[in-house]
């Protein structure tokens, strides 16, 4: 009887040990992650760029939606030059990128571009990645929605 009680107390102690160590560890990690917030984030949106006043030539990643009707592309000396505007619904940044764009790149969709601002406030991208949203939809559904005029391209909101 006495022995059983002792074993029970030990079990309880081990449980508390596990729970407190998990709590302490979780808190520590939370604090570290909070401190590292700036380097964990993958990109900055145009509003943050406007607020931060990033210097020209400083390398960073820009993220946002490709503004509707802003995308144009032309070939000069067999190099594809793409121009588009990245928007977050508040501020916008003009982007120039030379090279092939990923399949999912299109107006109204998210992009993450790496590069730097030039002297005149245009973002010169060295790499452009498309960001997929979380929606999956059958092609047929979209086609019929378009036919009935009920489909709207994603608005940047």
């Amino acid at each position: 009887m006495k022995k059983g009680l002792k074993a029970g107390a030990r079990k309880k102690r081990r449980m508390y040990l596990l729970l407190t160590s998990l709590a302490v560890l979780g808190l520590a990690v939370l604090l570290v992650l909070n401190a590292l917030e700036d380097s964990i984030r993958l990109f900055y949106d145009p509003t943050e760029i406007a607020e931060k006043g990033i210097k020209p030539g400083q390398n960073f990643r820009l993220g946002g939606l490709v503004a509707d009707g802003s995308f144009e592309t032309h070939e000069t000396d067999s190099i594809l030059v793409n121009k588009f505007i990245v928007s977050d619904g508040n501020e916008t940044v003009a982007v120039i990128y030379e090279g092939l764009l990923p399949d999912l790149f299109r107006e109204g969709q998210g992009v993450v571009a790496e590069g730097a601002m030039n002297g005149s406030g245009v973002f010169i991208a060295t790499e452009v990645l498309a960001k997929h949203d979380e929606n999956y939809m059958p092609k047929e559904v979209i086609d019929s929605l378009k036919k009935r005029g009920q489909w709207q391209e994603d608005d940047p909101s």
């Binding site: 079990k11 993958l42 990645l129 997929h132 999956y136 092609k139």
Partner: protein, 241 residues
């Protein structure tokens, strides 16, 4: 608690369940693959390439499910000192590592055509890679420490430490901006995927899950048998080895 965790009882029960689990796994895979490759329609933006998610999402889910199993079993083993729980945790680890690797590889194969890159150090991808290393570390503890009781104790601590990372994986896409998209399936306002696409995804997740449970039973049986083999060898050898 101990009644159910008795090894002999586990052998009996698992032998009873195993044929059903195996059959169910095969059935779910057949159905899931048929849905994933034939019934589910093309996506409006990604065409057929989105079908990678029918492998990628279940693999990533099993990577985390496996970790959940390890964490719970380790906690039970640590607190109640139950050897079967430790064995269950140990048997899960290689499968968890394999599914994590599969999730990383299929994610890469998705990333190249869709995003334009095989890899990016965003929070989701990085935390998933860390999970892979946590699994490897966990396996290494069992491999390198010979005293099984001591190995179980240290492995349990590693498992609990790694639990923090699993929580980070789940919320990484909400807490920070990442290239990886937010959750489509488990979200407050319901899934953002529907119809046969959703059915295919759920069937494949079910198939992977059943597969995992079936194999886990085999592997725990294996560990129980090995324990018995060790004690029989001692009897025969008369303590010679």
């Amino acid at each position: 608690m101990h009644k159910f965790a008795n090894p002999a009882r586990f052998m009996r029960l698992s032998n009873m369940f195993l044929p059903w689990c195996t059959g169910f796994t095969v059935l779910l895979f057949a159905l899931g693959l048929y849905y994933a490759l034939f019934l589910a329609p093309e996506d409006y933006q990604m065409g057929n390439t989105y079908r990678i998610i029918f492998i990628h999402v279940p693999a990533a889910y099993m990577a985390q499910f496996g970790y959940g199993v390890i964490a719970v079993a380790s906690a039970v083993g640590f607190i109640w000192k139950h050897p079967l729980a430790d064995q269950a945790a140990r048997a899960t680890a290689p499968m968890g590592a394999a599914f994590t690797a599969l999730a990383l590889v299929t994610g890469s194969l998705w990333g190249k055509p869709m995003w334009g890159t095989f890899w990016i150090w965003d929070a989701r991808l990085t935390s998933m890679l860390i999970l892979f290393f946590v699994y490897l570390g966990y396996i290494a503890v069992w491999q390198t420490i010979e005293d099984q009781t001591r190995a179980a104790k240290i492995a349990a601590i590693v498992a609990v430490v790694g639990l923090v990372n699993v929580i980070i994986i789940k919320f990484s896409v909400d807490w920070w901006n990442t290239l990886h998209q937010p959750a489509s399936l488990i979200r407050l306002d319901g899934p953002t995927i529907g119809g046969d696409m959703l059915a295919a995804l759920l069937l494949m997740i079910g198939a992977f899950n059943m597969f995992f449970i079936t194999l886990l039973m085999w592997r725990i049986q294996s560990l129980i048998l090995r324990k018995r083999i060790r004690s029989l060898r001692m009897q025969i050898g008369g303590g010679q080895d």
